[in-house]
Amino acid sequence: MPLKDALPTQGRFSQWRPNWVILTLGLAMLAAVWGLPTVSVAANRIVSGTGYPVWQALSWGGGALASLIILAMMVLASHPERTRLSYVAQFAAMVLLLLLMPFGLMAASHWLVDASQPQARLGIGPAYWVVMFLALLGLIELRLRLSLARGWMALLLIGIGAVWLGCAALWLDSLALVQEFQVREAQFYQAIRQHLALVTIAVSVSIVLGMGIALLMRRFYRLQRGGFALLNFFQTVPSLALFGLLLAPLAWLSANVPFAAQLGIKGIGWTPALIALIIYSLLPIVRNTYVALEAVSPDVLDAATGMGMRTSQRFWQVRVPLALPILLEGVRITMVQAIGLTAVAALIGAGGLGAFIFQGLGQAAMDMVLLGALPILVMALAADAGIGALAAQLRRGAAYD
């Protein structure tokens, strides 16, 4: 073979376009695995734990295995030929990594936690969190490359989550997060119920109210500017301040109107929380309802009237169905926002998962904070994906031309 053919030519060189996203994520993961503490071990709940690097937590073999999986993915990502098979393999590598991670924790627990000390506990270290986060980012990138349906992706994530939960329930008693959970299991489920109830009530009330306001604004043009200005203003008030602002009038109401007191209306607790949540939720609902109804093509509406539809027929059969995807977008934003804001509502005694977060912060018990924060994260992601999928489904039939 002539020498010049054996050398990489200019052309071949410029064709070397690796998937930089995956390569960068892989590098960052390797750095995290070897550079950050993998787990921490504490003698009891109060003292702060000692961090252990990967070679102590998972042994050299464990560290090497993780690195090998990440490296394999990077090699595939830097290969010039981008076949579907290669993407599938990279995807599989990420999934494998996520599935093996709880078993790593078990190994760490076995090696590092003294079984004779029931108080001793294992904390999940920064390396774990970072790798998990980066692996999820990688999955999102690869999902786009593989154009994998949302449904399958959701199922996969649920599956991975189930493996984690199973491991935690069966074999990871020493994990601090699990211990925090076991101590307040009843409280935990109660908090989830409260949280969901607050969010559901607040979002449903603001859907009804918000859509009503949007319709009024369409009918009475002059309401528009003032209405939006007011709602925008409320959005900018910090949530805690809004709770505070509601405290005095509600306390007064409860003290002076017996009926209000009977209903359980108080300056603190669920009443101000619900009111504040509804106020925050109104803007996205009103805005999206308004925009959605106005965005329907004038030609379509002209045809509807011209063909002899009555105003109500045109509204319900044409305007509303065509507005629905944008309207649902508003519901999605509101829902995610309300799930987060409800955490803050715990500060005024409304309960919910936020209670764990603020108690944990008060006691400097980070694992208790996590016990509150993780379910909130999962709820927000689920609401986001679920409503997003519904809107996409609706949009498919009605794609605008």
């Binding site: 030609d299 002209d302 045809a303 011209g306 794609a399």
Partner: protein, 322 residues
Amino acid sequence: MIELRNVYKYFDDTVAVDDVSLSVPKGKFCALVGTSGCGKSTTLRMINRLLAHSEGEILLDEQAISDYDPVLLRRRIGYVIQNTGLFPHWNVARNIGLVPRLLKWPASQVRQRVEELMQLLGLPVGEFANKYPHQLSGGQAQRVGVARALAADPDILLMDEPFGALDPITREKLQEMLMQLQARLHKTIVFVTHDMDEALRLADHLVVMRAGKVIQQGTPLSLLQKPADAFVDSLLGGLERGLKQASLTRVKDHMAPLGPTLPAQSRIPARYTLRQALSMMLRDHSERLTVVDQHDMPVGELSLRKLVKEAHSSEQGSSRES
């Protein structure tokens, strides 16, 4: 029968339609032509009461449209617009069945009517019934638009630049389709367009508008023979006018009986237009053509000299009339 008597439309202080009078007899095709913004759409939309006229009278079958319930009136009038206005969330069959459903026809009858119309407009039912508007080409979508307008078999069809957004080839196909439909269905049609050739091709009656006013109206031939002013003349194509007129005239109306002389070499079917005859004369360097019937048998003769003379005399004749 549609009649507008001294109709005005004001938007605030602008006059969009200025003293328009016109009448479209039953079964006739009337085209409103003019540059954009001259009030064509406004005139059209007053007929189905999408807009209320400010002054004057609009009559449908001798009855003022204000006597009708606007919604019921619109269900009796087919309406086609430029961007189709198909409902994007409904499939083709459901879009076409809109008015029959509004009129509460039984479902089986609606289905039957939809299939009938799809066939009539060259949309195979199996292929198109379940498609959504965004899956259709421009031409297919406008066929659906026309089918939807015809669904409840209205006597009147209002069309606002229905083919304005289509490419020339598709446009010509749909014009052809509309002509065939009209030959069968004899609807009373008001058709808005800014394309004079389209109007000349389709209409029985032409109405030229400018700045809200009717400048001239009449049959396509009468306009071509005697445009009222330079504006109408330029709309009609100025120098091209002669050829456009020729393209509206059939050979058989101008042929002379076969003479004693030998027939010319070039032959033209009697149903062709004078424009095609002229083109053939130029191509074959021949001042005379033999006119043949559908069996290619000579039936007459066409000569350039006679054509030029007749065109001249008919112009004289029409100017004497007016």
